[in-house]
């Protein structure tokens, strides 16, 4: 028996196929004045040979309609093969005759959002610099790996808590050092951009000021009787964010001109002088 899903997609396939045939034939004459298109006999050959032997008017539209037919027919036959994936049909797959429950919600996971952010980095890299592109690729690879581990851990046992613990035990030894190293690298890179962008004197002041602020904040937190976790995290987050944002701005502004460049220029001048 033909299923509803089959009828839906096969209907679309038939409509697209008829559309392809008519369109392929009727678009044969693109230069004439006629409104409904001049029917060129060679168009029939083109349509019947799926465009292989030419004769189709607008190849692009014709091929899109043929592929719509193929896609819809593929879905139609897949669904009829699966009996529309009706719960009763799926129950027969397992042998027990019981309808397996549909998948429940998954545990929270940062990787989908992180993956989208990595995709943005990748796109930015395609436009800006190969290094950014490679960073995006690496991030996407990390996401793919983490996703794979999470997907496995979700079904490792029937106990969600044990699954979480299992995932953490496997991944934490990799994640914590790598994330820590990445965070340090980002902060160092950002700080270096800031110090390179400002004047030499200001760089000295910043280099003195930032450690004082860090020590001051740490002393303040230690002095608190019961420092709240939220406050500590908040202070750290704001601090890191400030450094990263300033680093990005500084990178955009570019480094100041350095003395050694001038020396280099002098050197070049000297070489030129000697050459003369």
């Amino acid at each position: 028996m033909l299923t509803t899903g089959f009828k839906l997609f096969f209907g679309f396939a038939v409509v697209a196929l008829v559309g392809a045939a008519v369109y392929g034939v009727a678009s044969g004459d693109l230069s004439g004045k006629d409104y409904l298109g001049f029917v060129d006999p060679s168009s029939f050959v083109g349509v019947l040979s799926l465009g292989w032997k030419g004769g189709v008017g607008d190849h692009s539209g014709y091929v899109v309609l043929v592929f719509a037919t193929v896609s819809a027919a593929y879905l139609a036959f897949t669904l009829v093969g699966f009996r529309d994936a009706d719960p009763e049909a799926v129950a027969r797959l397992g042998g027990s005759g019981e309808i397996p429950p549909a998948a429940g919600p998954t545990a929270n996971n940062v990787w989908p959002a992180f993956g989208a952010a990595a995709a943005v980095v990748l796109l930015l890299g395609l436009v800006t610099h190969a290094a950014v592109f490679v960073t995006g690729l690496i991030l996407l690879a990390v996401v793919a790996f983490e996703w794979m581990i999470s997907a496995w851990a979700d079904r490792a046992t029937g106990d969600p808590e044990a699954n979480r613990e299992l995932r953490t035990r496997i991944m934490a030894p990799f994640e914590i050092p790598l994330l820590g190293a990445a965070a340090v690298a980002v902060i160092v890179l950002s700080a270096s951009r800031i110090l390179l962008a400002v004047s030499e004197l200001n760089a000295v002041w910043i280099a003195i000021g930032i450690p004082i602020i860090i020590v001051g904040a740490a002393v303040a937190i230690v002095a608190m009787e019961k420092p709240s976790r939220g406050a500590v995290v908040g202070v750290l987050a704001v601090g890191v964010l400030a450094i990263v944002v300033l680093g990005i701005v500084s990178a955009a502004v570019g480094p100041r001109s350095f003395e050694h460049e001038e020396e280099h220029t002098d050197e070049e001048a000297l070489v030129t002088e000697v050459a003369r």
């Binding site: 997609f9 679309f12 559309g19 994936a85 799926v90 989208a116």
Partner: protein, 556 residues
């Protein structure tokens, strides 16, 4: 390492609901990491409505520019005008209407089919974040002198194309998740014929999105590959719309534009039987009509770049004429259901009905635009001058402001339908009922604004105003009508603002006495609490008809 090679046996499938501490940071983290379909749906809805406001403001700016057809004065040059124009047109589809429907579907479809979650929840989350970040990047790149015009900054143009590709790929992923939920996550007894109408409409619309958006992706990929090289071989020249937008134009014109409004039919098909308090008559015919409307909207083949006379093709003409047929069938079915039931007016059905009227108007514009082609076909049979007399005024509509009229009628009909859906399913989406008064006001603004914004463009079409250009000589009435159209868009924006305001107010409202089924719904989403629990249903539910809640009440 723990290895679990044991044969899986039945166990409690539920995943414990994470206990959320009240800390804002943890809440934000929970939102970012969620795979819960109801939260994802809410985020889609709120983000799309936010984007709607932004896009409509851009539309108003573009409209203001068109109030003086002597040149580009307001937005700072022709380049900026074209960038904003395309941002407005593409944004309304891919930043607003399609994601709004997908947001509703992500929230509601799993509930309707009796599933504890959406299929592939993590992929659904990735789709949302991909769309949101891609959308942000798209706006940013366009604003940074990007867009699709040959004259902008080349890096920003590349980024615009890539960001649009990311957005569309993400929407495709979300579509796959929703469609898979409808097919493979249904509860016991729910055959595809018993699937609620909104879910069915998402399946039908999704089928066409699935086969048309990738063609758009292919065009975008080609645009990017072309622009990336040192020598631009495809997009350097062209008439009409500049740059690569000529290759994308089919996605924002008839018949493709209708596919963005298909879920509106599903939403209305949910509401009408509820309003009439009876089962939908000839349900399978109604399902077939929705599917037929979706399939007739497939327009990825109609690319004017490769066939400048595509609008004269019989397939194209007949397709656009036939589009109205399923709509008329649906209208007949709903009228019959309402007449034979005991209709009770509600804001959501009123707003959705307004959306349907706009869709019909859009169908009317499509008919007018192909009418000239239909009559003109008679030229092939003989040399009759009266054919030209009849067809000429309609022929001229093909590339005029009538394009904008049809686009606005249809896509804004989608927006109106989605807003109606938000009001209808608010108890399930937000755990609150929204204000009927504000809903009515918003509906009036949305429908009224759409009429102003579209009808005046339609008249301008007959006055030969071009669809895009602003530095051309036009009839005297055109600029005045453009003022009206712009005011209409501003009113639509006010409507969206009202909806957002209502949502903000609803959060403060006490919802402790909210009923599971405050609207008298017939389908499974109304069988659970408002808002639904983490797993949607306390226990799996088996159904024996398309309206399980009416079965419970013993209704025939």
């Amino acid at each position: 390492m723990t290895v679990t090679d044991t044969p899986p046996i039945a166990a409690d499938p539920t995943v414990e609901t994470p206990v959320l501490p009240a800390s804002p940071l943890v809440r934000i983290a929970n939102v970012i990491t969620t795979g819960e379909h109801k939260i994802l749906g809410r985020m889609y809805i709120l983000s799309s409505l936010g984007f709607a406001l932004f896009t409509l403001v851009i539309g108003v700016l573009v409209g203001l520019e068109q109030t003086d057809m002597g040149g580009v004065d307001i937005v700072g040059g022709n380049e900026a005008y074209l960038q904003l124009f395309f941002l407005w047109r593409t944004g309304l589809v891919f930043l607003v209407v399609v994601p709004l429907f997908l947001g509703l579907a992500t929230s509601i479809v799993p509930l309707q089919v009796g599933a504890p979650s959406i299929a592939f929840p993590r992929a659904a989350a990735a789709a949302f974040w991909g769309w949101l970040l891609g959308g942000g990047l798209y706006i940013g790149a366009t604003m940074a002198d990007g867009g699709f015009n040959a004259g902008g900054d080349s890096d920003a143009i590349e980024l615009t194309i890539l960001a649009m590709g990311m957005m569309i790929a993400s929407l495709l992923l979300a579509t796959v998740c929703v469609m898979t939920t409808v097919i493979a996550q249904r509860t016991e007894g729910m055959s595809l014929l018993r699937v609620p109408m909104f879910s069915w409409s998402m399946l039908a619309a999704g089928a066409v999105w699935l086969v048309s958006f990738p063609v758009l992706l292919a065009v975008l990929a080609l645009s990017w590959a072309d622009l990336r090289g040192d020598v631009v071989v495809f997009f350097e020249t062209g008439s009409g719309a500049p740059g690569s937008l000529r290759y994308l134009a089919w996605a924002f014109d008839y018949p493709q534009v209708f596919v963005y409004a298909v879920p509106l039919l599903g939403i209305l098909a949910e509401m009408v039987p509820v309003t009439a308090a009876r089962r939908q008559a000839m349900r399978s015919v109604m399902m077939a009509a929705i599917a037929a409307f979706a399939f007739l909207s497939f327009g990825a083949y109609a690319q004017p770049v490769y066939n400048a006379r595509v609008a004269q093709q019989p397939v194209f003409v007949v397709q656009n004429l036939l589009l109205l047929l399923p709509l008329l069938v649906l209208l007949g079915g709903w009228a019959f259901t309402l007449v034979s039931g005991k209709p009770k007016a509600s804001v959501s059905v009123g707003v959705a009905g307004g959306g349907l009227l706009m869709l019909l108007a859009g169908g009317g514009v499509a008919t007018l635009r192909v009418f000239g082609r239909l009559v003109g076909g008679l030229r092939e049979l003989g040399d009759w001058s009266w054919v030209d007399d009849i067809s000429d005024p309609f022929d001229d509509l093909v590339d005029t402001a009538a394009v904008a009229a049809e686009f606005r009628y249809v896509v804004l009909a989608g927006l109106i339908g989605a807003v109606a859906g938000v009001y209808f399913w608010a108890p399930k989406l937000f755990g609150r009922r929204l204000s009927p008064a504000l809903g009515g006001l918003a509906g009036l603004a949305l429908v009224g604004g759409t009429v102003l914004a579209s009808l005046s463009e339609m008249v301008n079409g007959f006055l030969d105003e071009p669809d895009i250009a602003t530095d051309v000589a036009v009839d005297s009435g055109v600029e005045i009508l453009n003022w009206v159209a712009t005011a209409g868009l501003a009113v639509v924006a006010l409507g969206v603002l009202t909806v957002l305001g209502d949502l903000a107010l609803a959060i403060r409202r006490d919802s402790s006495d909210l009923d599971d089924n405050p609207v008298g719904g017939h389908t499974l989403e109304w069988a659970t609490t408002s808002p639904p629990p983490h797993n949607n249903f306390a226990a799996p539910i088996a159904v024996t008809s398309a309206e399980p809640l009416l079965d419970e009440e013993g209704e025939v």
